[in-house]
Amino acid sequence: MSWLDDLSGELRARRVPRRVRHRILLELRDHTACEPGCEDRLGHPRELAVSFADELATSEARGSAFATFAALAVAAVVLVVSLIALGRFAHYPGYSNGISTLLFFPALLGMVVAPQVALVAGTLAAWRALRRRRVASLPADEIGLIHRRARVALAAGFATMAGLELYVVDFSQRLPAWWLGLVGGLAAVAGVGLFAAARTLVRARAIVSGAQGQAGDIYDDLPLLGWRWLRSRPWLLGALAALAVGVALGAFEAHAEHSVVEGIQRGMFEGLAAAVGFVVLGRAIGARPAPIPVESTALMPLLTAPPDRLVADGDRARAELLLREGYADGRLTLGDLDDRISAVHAARTVSELGAAVADIAPPS
């Protein structure tokens, strides 16, 4: 096996696309032909293949996130145009006047709930890609997070367009032909855009990246959510998000329909949908923090560090684990545990962290 054969095998193992692989091998063949016997100086084939694969996987992940966002933007325009045209020129037909409520309710879910999921997941995917645009090689876990966000966003985008098409079918005997044709056509066009974005995502996901590092979560993406104490209470973040969505959309509905009752109904529905979405999709899109593999004993050396040294998220996670072990041992009450976890996640320095755990930490 020659050096180039080894490189070819390594690139194939990392599923670098055939076209790229072919180009790399031609370039390296030319290089070795320029100076026969130079293979030792080119480096190990595996390391070179890893470098190519990691950088390509990073670039493709970013590209697929941006393509997803662009396709969703087109779908959003289609949805807004359809609803404006329906409200202003065609008039709402009433939910029970269609062919079947079995068509109406899935259509409603697609047109009301799915766009919100697409907005959140697509924005988070694109934002992470944009925020990390200068990094040549992202950790594999972070690439995976971008892919998951884009996948959820695309699925929700497809559900939105499918909802529109179902609505068209359900009211095909009630709504004017021009509206049916316009919306059916626009939704199909948006669907083609989503399909194209899905293809870029499939291509990006195929490449095997092995770069080490953490994926991060929503707290890394949104500095405004710097409430570290919320990191250990994902349910509370979900509840706050659901409340915010419910109040905002409920108020909008109450204002638009001049009806407090309808506003409350809409607000409850939207809030419940947001809560369900958070529970079902939160971890997939990094809105719920991923568990950090930790060992509490790794915290001990830190506690002897200078008291004003800043602590990292990993230190807080280790401290939290130590506290939970203390609770399991019966050394802390549930109330103590809760108070101390809050203090740990609010801690910025070693002294602040140490104050919360020093009396239960074993000697280092």
Partner: protein
Amino acid sequence: MKADTLNGQLDPLILATVAEEPAHGYAILQRLKERSSGAFDLAEGTIYPALHRLERDGLLSSSWSTDSGRRRRVYSITRAGTSSLEVRRHEWKQFARAIEAVMG
């Protein structure tokens, strides 16, 4: 000088080399070695991922040419690459001046 020392500087060095004249990977490497009097002792393969990255970022463009019956990829700097190089040169001169002022 090892690759670690060059951390973050390989891209502008490649851009500066290609800015003189379009070249293929091996020729770029030779120019880098010549102009640094052999100081840059990096694994030669590392230049290729960097070339591909710079092309993906729109700072280089490339095309195939044939020389002595061999196909080779020749890289040229783009307008965006030239602008980026100017920025990186300016930053480097500022950095070097600051280091010089401190180190003497």
